[in-house]
């Protein structure tokens, strides 16, 4: 996910300062890691350098300076292009689960046991997300939670298939 484009999307609703951008990002993507302020300001700096956002107001109400940014026309075009463009399906990237199972298989460790325990962890998280989905106040949240749920489901299916393969291999040996 491109944080820069998400922040530009927030600015498309109207000018905002760094704190608003961070808060809105975290609200929109509750399942993602909260955005560090440093990343917000670094991103805004890059967007300003590239002419995609511009400062429109700086205030100092006794505290530190607060700059409000707005999306430029060029920024709006970039945002629209990004929204219209598909993402490459991407090369397969081995994640921690795959690394662990493959390593366990190489070592002759209990891969099946790990897969079973991992499934319980995944299913427990799926329960939490499903409860959140049921309580989702609006379509936005529902869509975000669906995305997380389907990725979890893909992992669960992989865990099941991996366990079936591991067990099958054991049977053959």
């Amino acid at each position: 996910m491109s944080v820069a484009h998400v922040l530009m999307g927030v600015l498309a609703d109207g000018p905002a300062h760094g704190y608003d951008l961070k808060r809105e990002h975290d609200d929109r993507f509750p399942a993602a890691k909260p955005l560090p302020y440093g990343q917000v300001y670094a991103t805004i700096g890059r967007l300003e350098r590239d002419g995609l956002v511009e400062p429109v107001e700086t205030t100092r109400d006794g505290g530190p300076e607060k700059t409000t940014y707005a999306l430029t026309d060029q920024g709006r075009k970039e945002l629209d292009d990004w929204l219209a463009e598909t993402e490459p399906a991407g090369p397969y990237v081995a994640d921690e689960l795959v690394r662990k199972v493959v390593t366990a298989l190489h070592l002759g460790a209990d891969a099946a046991g790990f897969l079973g325990r991992q499934r319980a962890v995944h299913l427990a998280h799926m329960r939490e997300l499903t409860a959140q989905q049921d309580a989702a106040p609006d379509v936005d949240s529902g869509v975000v939670i669906d995305h997380a749920l389907f990725h979890l489901d893909a992992d669960l299916r992989w865990l099941e298939a991996a366990a079936a393969r591991v067990t099958h291999r054991k049977d053959r040996v």
Binding site: R119, A120, H122, L123, M126, T130, L149, L152
Partner: protein, 226 residues
């Protein structure tokens, strides 16, 4: 923990040379929502239908409220199935020649309830499930999600203590499936019914209180049951 509403001991069931259940023992508590999961051919549906008294095991027994289904005569078993159990299958299996309200009223009419009262009750259930607009519509004119809601109304119209559902959302898209399942669980919880749901869908399993995993006709306790 209270007495189990359903208890199966050492169930064995074969179809020809295929052993569908190889000594399955399970206990279901009243009000529990239990998902029965496992790979294709692991015996999920056979277990469900055996617990519902629709299939008879070759050996082992099913106890409902402490009484063995095998000790009941055919008549008593049929009555039990009609009055205490509700069954919902993947494709609803509505009677195609009957309208929604006639389909839903059917279990009551089979129990010789008054025709007008049965219709009123059926209409009430259609309304609760948000499909009262379809009362006089034939199944062939409904979407899959609508048919499943009508089938759910038919399964609930007798106020069953146990609802047996076999892949109830298996033929539906995600959103329709979610809606049917949400209604099913909400109604079951409100009525305090026990639900057994066979599914290969993790999202359905995640809504259950507990999971029974079957593998090759036996309960697999090792497989990440959460």
């Amino acid at each position: 923990m209270s007495e189990p509403i359903l208890r199966a001991r050492g169930l064995r069931k074969a179809f020809g040379r295929t052993e569908a259940l190889r000594g399955v023992s399970v206990e279901i508590q009243p009000g529990e929502i239990v998902a029965v999961t496992g790979p294709s051919g692991s015996g999920k549906s056979t277990l469900l239908l055996t617990l519902a008294g629709i299939l008879r095991p070759e050996s082992g027994e099913v106890l409902y409220d402490g009484a063995s289904l095998a000790d009941l005569g055919e008549d008593a078993r049929t009555k039990l199935r009609r009055r205490q159990f509700g069954v919902l299958l993947q494709f609803g299996h509505l009677v195609p020649e009957l309208t929604a309200v006639q389909n839903v009223a059917l279990p009551l009419l089979l129990e010789k309830h008054d025709r007008a009262a049965s219709r009123r009750s059926a209409l009430g259930w259609l309304e609760r499930l948000g499909v009262d607009g379809l009362a006089d519509v034939l199944p062939g004119e409904m979407s899959g999600g609508e048919m499943q809601r009508v089938a759910l109304a038919r399964a609930l119209v007798t106020g069953p203590r146990v609802l047996f559902a076999d892949e109830p959302t298996g033929a539906l898209d995600t959103v329709s499936g979610d809606e049917v399942l949400t209604v099913l669980l909400a109604e079951a919880k409100q009525a305090g019914s026990t639900v057994l749901v066979v599914t290969h869908d993790n999202r359905v399993a995640a809504r259950a209180d507990r999971e029974i995993v079957l593998r090759d006709g036996a309960v697999d306790d090792t497989w990440g049951a959460a």
